[in-house]
Every structure is written in C-alpha cells, then in structure tokens.
Symmetry: C2
Subunit: 365 residues, 2 copies
C-alpha cells in the first residue's frame, strides 16, 4: 500500500535478486525506514525482536531467512541449522512452521548447488501467494462491507479492528484491513476504529500509521473502549486477523480479541476473522485447550515506547516498581463467537464443515 | 492503608483543624507525596486534574472544597460560586453532586458566621461515613471471598479488578479492594489480577502501588488479558467499583468494565460491584441510555506518562502522529451481567428489588 504516495511492501528482494530488506516496524509510527537482512541470523532476529511481525509476514521472512542461509552455505547441515534457528523464534503463528516445512520439502532432496536459487524462488512464491490471498480476502470482505452498508441504507461503514492485521502484518494489502482498503479504493465510505492493542501498541502505532499513510479515515481508541462503542451502536462490524485458526474455526489472535468478540455478540455486531489459509492449523481441533500461547517479556507491560517532546524515542516505566506482571500475547476466540471466516477462497462459517466446504482437499487429512 | 508501614488516608485535615492535604495521585506510582489544598480553586483543580480521583474521594474533596470556600468567605454568594465551580469539574461521578447537595442543604439556611465550622464538620462526617462504608463493604465482601475459597476447597482466592477502586479512590480501605484488604488482614490468601486500565493507567500505577505498598500479592496485566485468564480458569471472581449505579443496578464504571463483565459471564466467573450507597443514582433507571459519559482529552490516549531510565517522569507520544482519537472515560455494565452489588449494608442483587430490599427508605422516592 502507499506511504507518502509511494507503493511499499513490508519485505522485498532488491535489484540484485538476493539482498532482502524489510520495513523496520519497531521504528514506526515515528520513522518509516527499511533495513537489510544480511543473513539468516538477521532474519531470525527480525522475527524475534518483532522488527517484522504478523503471522503471514513472519512466514515470508522465515522463508527468505532460509534463502539467505542457502546463499551462505547450501549444505544440508546448514539447512537444518537455519530451520532450527528460525523455527524457535516465535511459538504461536502457524505460518512460521508452515513456511519452513515448505522450504524444507522443496530443498532437502535437491543438490546443494541448486538450493539457493530454489529457496529464493520458493520464498518469492510464498510472498506472491500471500499478496494474492490478501487481495482475494479484500475482494470477498468488500462484499460484506457493501452488504452492511445496504442494510443500513447507505452512509459510512464503521469497522472495528484489533492489533495490526494490515499490510504491515503481511506483504501487501493485509488480512483484516484488505476489505477496508478494497472499500476505500472502490469508493465505499469506511471508517476504522483502531484498538491501540496494549502491550505492544500495534494498533496505535502500526494500524493507525498505515491507515493514515494510505488516507483511510480512522479513530484510535483504548482497548477498553470497543464494547462501549458497540453498545452505543457505533460499530457496524468487527474484522480481525488470526495468528492460528483451528480446523474447528477457533481463532488464536492478539490478546484481547476474545473480549471484542464477546462485545460483538452481546450487541449483535457481526464479528469476522480474515485469514489466508496458511494460518489454518488443520491438526488442532480445540483452540482454547491446544494452541500454545506465547508468554512475552514483562517489560512490554511495565514499559511503553514512545516519543518525547524533544523527539527522542524511548521507553518509559508505567507500572508501580516491583509489581509482578503477566504478558500472554494471544488469546483464543471460540468459533461460536465468530460470524464468519474471510479467506482467499471466500467467506465461510467458523466450523469444520465451513472450512472443509472451502478446502475440500483437506477432507482426507 | 499502609505505605512504608505508615497508615495513610487520601485526604486529611491537618492539626490546625483547617488545612486540607491530599495524596497527589498524578505523582504515583513513582513518588508518594501529599500536597495542600489552599482554597476552593485548588480543590476544584485537584478534581479536574485528577490529583484526586475515584467517585467517593471526589465527593469528599468537593465537600472540603466548600469548607475551604467558607473559610475564605462564608457569604451565600460565595457558597453558590463554590458549588458551581466544584460541580463543573467532572460529569460522571454521582458522589460529586451528592456531596455538594448535602453541603448546600447543611449550610444555606445558617448564619454566615456559622458556615465555616459546619462545612468542616459536614465534610468530616462525609469522610468518616465513607471510611465506615468501605470497612463494611470489606466485611461483607470478605464473606464472598471465603465462600469462593470454600467452594474451591481452600487455597488462593484469585480476584480480578479493573481501574482503581482501592483506598486511593476513597478515604481509606477502598470499595472493590476493601474485601481484598479484609481478606489479607484475616489471613485468607488472596491474589489480585490488576488491569492496567488505559488510557490513564490507574490499575498499573495506583492499584498496583497500593497493593504493593500494603503487601498484598498481585499481578499487573494489560486490559486485553482478563478474558484469557478467565477462559483458563485463573480468576475466581471479579470485583470492581462504580462511579454511578442506577436504581435498576446498571453500573457506570471506568471504560472497559463492561468487557470484563462479558468475559466473566462467558466463563461463569462471579462479577461483583462494590459501592457505597452514595454512588447510587436513584433518579436513573436505564444506565446505558441515561448516564452521561465523560469524553476526556485525546492526549490521554495519544500520550503515556512514565519514568525514563534517568528517573525523569515525562509524557511520551505513542499513537501515529495525526491519527484522530476518541476517549470516553466510562462505560455502563448492564445489571444483567452483575452477579451482585456489595454495599455497606450487605450484598444484594443488581436490580431495583435488590437495592430497595437494602434501602427500603428509598421506596417512596
């Protein structure tokens, strides 16, 4: 999408066909800078330190991490090392495992000399498929927005979203925000309520940045506010992304998603989850019990990063010194609270039946 | 309650019987300092700038504000001016109106020369009644905690609370935290999950501070986290305070309370609201429609106050520059989501019938 009128993607291979750069998301919203990923260690660090984040982008970055490793040393031992290093960076996003398994399958049986080129090609394919999937999600989601608008007799469509499932979480377009961008392009008037999404503030920093940079009207709110807005009839639908969706339609997403799904149900607001099928974990049935939830550093809660009046970006302590902190990064929204899943193949119910109707090739698994 | 082992109250009249000091809550959690309220303007400023906050403490501070005004000039014109000035500071807390109406009724018909002494006496009575009410709430709430513990077969009682409804919101003891302090004193093992409560961070800064200073075990969490903890069975009951409770049992409290009530219902966790009867607005039936919700400064969302590594307390910007913000300060939890109201007269259902059973003298109003 656009930044200062220029089209940008979160991850790109430069003109030499080998150098990889990413948007450094830890510098947003105050600075938009790209940084090079020199090697697999840099790719792993970028994922772990959340220089890149968002389930789809994590998968693509991991793929290019393998490509960078193959560029340095295409041996099978180094392939194993790269897969191990990248696989240990984040525990919840299923795309990471999925992308690494795909690279593994593509590379292992090849002669070492062919692995580098094939790794770049496979990574480019994954990135391209992500863009295509997000575009398709946007197209299907746009119809939902048009329907809501029709039912309201025209006017503004007011969408609430949590965390960042925009183009910054993917390669381009985004998942939850793809329908919003599609609506904006199609001239359907849309307004986005953006949860700030503590503790890491991906909403206030990233979603607000990307919507603002692209020119989409929006309002940032504290995470506590969405229920009140729904109660007052100010939200027409919720759309969020997903870090991992189970075969039964349960949705692991940024912590706090579950609370918004409860508020949506209590106020008859449709609650949609937008996801490329790469985030579906076909091996898991009960999300609440089975999805591993990442516990992140207490410092994300005790400290907040921001920009001071003199322009310095720094961390400030906000919690009473000495108070213990818990920081689970995701929660699971049970399928019963999800109105529908918006995938690259269309909109379906959040259920095993709904998912298999769109992905019949999974019936045998 | 105790700070560094010393008993403290949020507002106090000094040994001269006239000077009023308050704990400056904008300096917490990094500094515990008292500051004098020299005159009615200082009292109004303290309420408006949230140097004091919490519905009960706002009421007591307003009362002493009238006393300070009467000390300076006991004329009826000055009484009117003081009531007007103090009444315009905050719109949602009903105690403010209630305390001012009580001072008005006590003072207006008196000779001017008697007003100062009477205003101090009436303010001291309101403060004393608040302490007594909070103690009683603690006593009644303790029984709920004991019951939960019994049903669990002993062990730790895990309480989730939102915002600050502790002694810092009152004169002493607190409302929602009074049962927690009572349990702690009685040797009932208790652990409090503290919502940080963005945008003003009253949980992370104030609740965590007062629990830590008094020695009560607790864990600070992002506002997004409570639903996940309840889903995992880690919360035995929720207790929150109330800024205004309607005659039908609807509860206006800090924004985000409604979301926790929804999560509690979805997970069969009891959800209690602790309140002195001074926060009941007997004139309002439907809280969602009728309670005025204060819209506060966008800067509370766009900026966060904290302490930098060099010890300076400063505001940092956390939202994408230029992004608009909404900041409603309260929401309304419908009575249907409230398991019970814990008042100074006992525990009752969140309903007109429940409230009238405890306050039969209100039947005629």
């Amino acid at each position: 999408m656009r930044v200062d009128g220029r089209p940008e993607r979160t991850i790109a291979v430069e003109a030499d066909g080998r150098s990889v750069t990413v948007v450094d998301q830890t510098r947003l919203p105050f600075e938009f800078v790209r940084r090079p990923l020199a090697d697999v260690e840099a790719a792993a660090h970028a994922i772990r330190a959340m220089i890149v984040r968002g389930a789809p982008l994590i998968g693509v970055t991991a793929a290019y991490g393998v490509a960078l490793a193959m560029r340095a040393d295409p041996s099978e031992a180094n392939l194993d090392r790269a897969l191990g290093l990248l696989g240990a960076t984040r525990p919840t996003a299923v795309n990471l495992r999925w992308a690494l398994a795909r690279l593994d399958a593509a590379l292992r049986s090849l002669p070492a000399a062919d692995r580098e080129a094939r790794a770049y090609a496979e990574s480019a394919a994954i990135a391209g498929e992500d863009v295509a999937a997000c575009r398709a999600i946007g197209r299907h989601g746009l119809e939902l927005l048009r329907d809501v608008r029709l039912r309201r007799g025209g006017g503004l469509v007011r969408v609430l979203t949590h965390c960042n499932a925009g183009w910054l979480a993917c390669v381009d377009w985004g998942t939850a925000l793809a329908p919003v961008y599609a609506a904006h392009e199609a001239g359907v008037p849309v307004h986005v309520y953006v949860d700030e999404t503590r503790p890491r503030n991906q909403g206030g920093a990233l979603t607000a940045f990307e919507l603002g940079a692209h020119g989409v009207p929006h309002t940032v709110i504290a995470d506590n506010t969405g229920g009140h807005l729904m109660q007052r009839g100010l939200v027409d639908l919720c759309i969020v992304g997903s870090d991992r969706t189970t075969a039964a339609g349960d949705v692991a997403n940024k912590i706090g998603t579950y609370l918004k799904a409860l508020a949506a149900r209590d106020n008859d607001v449709p609650f949609y989850v937008a996801l490329p099928s790469s985030t579906i974990d076909w091996t898991i049935r009960d999300g609440v019990v089975e999805v591993p939830i990442e516990e992140r550093d207490a410092r994300e809660v005790t400290h907040v990063r921001g920009r001071s009046a003199d322009g310095t970006v720094l961390d400030v302590e906000v919690v009473a010194p000495g108070s213990p902190v818990a920081n689970p990064a995701f929660d699971v929204t049970p399928a019963r609270l999800v109105t529908g899943l918006v995938t690259e193949r269309g909109v379906t119910s959040a259920s095993r039946e709904g998912l298999l109707a769109l992905y019949p090739e999974r019936t045998k698994t």
